[in-house]
Point group: C2
């Protein structure tokens, strides 16, 4: 595992962070008003474009997935790039849709060695420790800001997480972490050994299906979250990206009626026509996300936790990290 | 508002609660093994049966909703009972499906006084304070147990909530609460004034659409949650029940393409053929939920927070209340 010069801050340090202004705008209004400088362009080479078979009315169904940046899950991301380069996903299908959980796609015959689709060369079996990423020093400015959105209110916005010692946004992604000794304690994080970070299972995140441990999956089975964040999967499965456009084509599919939401018959599956990297797709729009290190994002996250726009009578006073989805849009200009 | 003899316990009291055994069973296995005595039959008169128009393949789409018991939201529940008794919902439609948020149904022409469907007599405008329910003494045994599922592990299962001072399960429903002084502080709750409880916006919960304050909605617009729990709606909108069967008929509908997920054309709406109370529907199965005061539920909730079954390498160490859905099934025997 690579070690990065990142780590959690002790809370007292955070008190020095400036408080963002409290906005009566809706979160969507804050996002719409964010200056161009607060948006980060996504490289087309970090996008995958999945074309599903047309719907019953003949309309195309395109799903755009952003792959996770280093240092997270890069072994699996590398496999997936090889699978796309080999056009391996072309012709596989969506085989499982479990309500309030996941939509999963891959080779429906993958369990049968005689029928399974041949894999390209060079896929690796990533070891389980790669579910976690060691970090050493604090370089989480959005976490600093986020933790003090309500300052001097003693209730910071996202301090509470049932699944980790801390959580934050890092370069546009929701991440969680714990102390390097493997505990989830709340006391100050020790500096003598790296702490551990991992991406979290929010709505729309894309993960790697696997068998029982020590299998970690290769990337031939992928799923996306279509319900309440199944955070119990964190640290147990690799997350490799997120759907940034077209999630509705996966979340509105008919639910499978077999165990775990698998379809009962092959006819119910949705074929995947192709999966290509974004830089191979002519005419693909550019996409950008709101920098989670920007002031706009801090105001947005604060507004998600404290709705002050006209419809709301009472601000919640907080939010869980998956209720603060990072804004992503087609790039302007 | 009615005052009940319920309140939060101070944490030290909870330490005396016995620890449930730690199970290596999956949550579904614990539920399947629960004895008959741990299940609570739901009165058919507390169920609403909504029949949507058949799908494109001609298959029926039935949604069964359990209404919330006293003391929660009974003004709105009373209105809804009147609307059902008047067959008012027959012929209205699903008009809004917003991805990762809500599916909403009602009178598509309700905003236009000339075209709006005539309402039955006797609907009341419920005042805003009814979003909250005052409680006085502790009678939350599931909360006691839940708070100590991991005892003597210092991390209880669901102590952390970004949206409330405490949360618990009460007679089969997820609820949250805060101190009677209106704050969300974490210190011991005072005994000299009632504390406040409210139901929470988990997946599948059914709420009452409304306009701007002081409107609280009558029940002519209803929605259900089809995404990550939008807990910021807690205390801002009345919750009146939950979908206990057929949620997939609402969660898998095509998403609307207009603002807030409204459909662009009337043809996209899904007609509601009828809505009837359960005791008026011949042949309706009986339903039952797993008592949240039972040992089986404590083991289930513990297993949701600490998966020890074969697939999982690492137990999460906690869960948020909406990631512990209360088991509901067709009654056996």
């Amino acid at each position: 595992m690579k070690r990065l010069f990142l780590a959690f801050a002790a809370l007292p340090l955070l008190a020095a962070a400036p408080a963002p202004e409290k906005s009566a705008l809706a979160p969507s209004e804050i996002v719409a008003a964010a200056p161009a400088a607060d948006w980060v362009r996504i490289a087309p080479s970090d996008l995958m474009v999945m074309e599903l078979a047309p719907d019953l009315k003949g309309r195309g169904r395109r799903v755009v997935i952003q792959l996770m940046p280093p240092p997270f899950s890069q072994g699996w991301v590398g496999n997936i790039r090889k699978l796309v380069a080999a056009s391996w996903y072309d012709g596989v299908s969506v085989n499982r849709v479990q309500d309030n959980y996941v939509t999963q796609w891959g080779d429906a015959e993958g369990e049968d060695p005689k029928k399974a689709k041949k894999l390209p060369e060079g896929l690796i079996q990533v070891p389980e420790p790669e579910y976690l990423t060691p970090v050493r020093y604090l370089m989480l400015p959005s976490s600093q800001g986020t933790a003090h959105l309500n300052w001097p209110n003693p209730w910071p916005v996202m301090p509470r997480d049932n699944y980790a010692a801390a959580n934050a946004f890092w370069k546009g992604w929701p991440v969680a972490g714990m102390r390097g000794d493997g505990t989830l304690g709340e006391t100050e994080l020790p500096k003598d050994r790296p702490n551990l970070l991992w991406p979290v299972h929010c709505y729309g995140m894309v993960g790697v299906g696997r068998g029982l441990s020590p299998d970690t999956g290769t990337g031939v089975e992928l799923y996306t979250v279509i319900g309440h964040a199944p955070r119990h999967l964190d640290r147990n499965i690799a997350l490799v990206g997120r759907v940034i456009e077209g999630i509705e084509h996966l979340s509105s599919l008919p639910r499978g009626t077999e165990a775990l939401g698998f379809y009962a018959t092959p006819e119910e599956r949705t074929p995947i026509l192709s999966m290509r990297m974004g830089d191979e797709v002519k005419g693909l729009p550019s996409f950008e996300f709101l920098s989670t290190e920007s002031g706009s994002f801090l105001r947005y996250a604060d507004a998600r936790a404290n709705r002050r726009d006209a419809f709301f009578n009472v601000p919640a006073g907080g939010a869980d990290i998956c209720n603060v989805p990072v804004p992503v849009r087609r790039a302007k200009g």
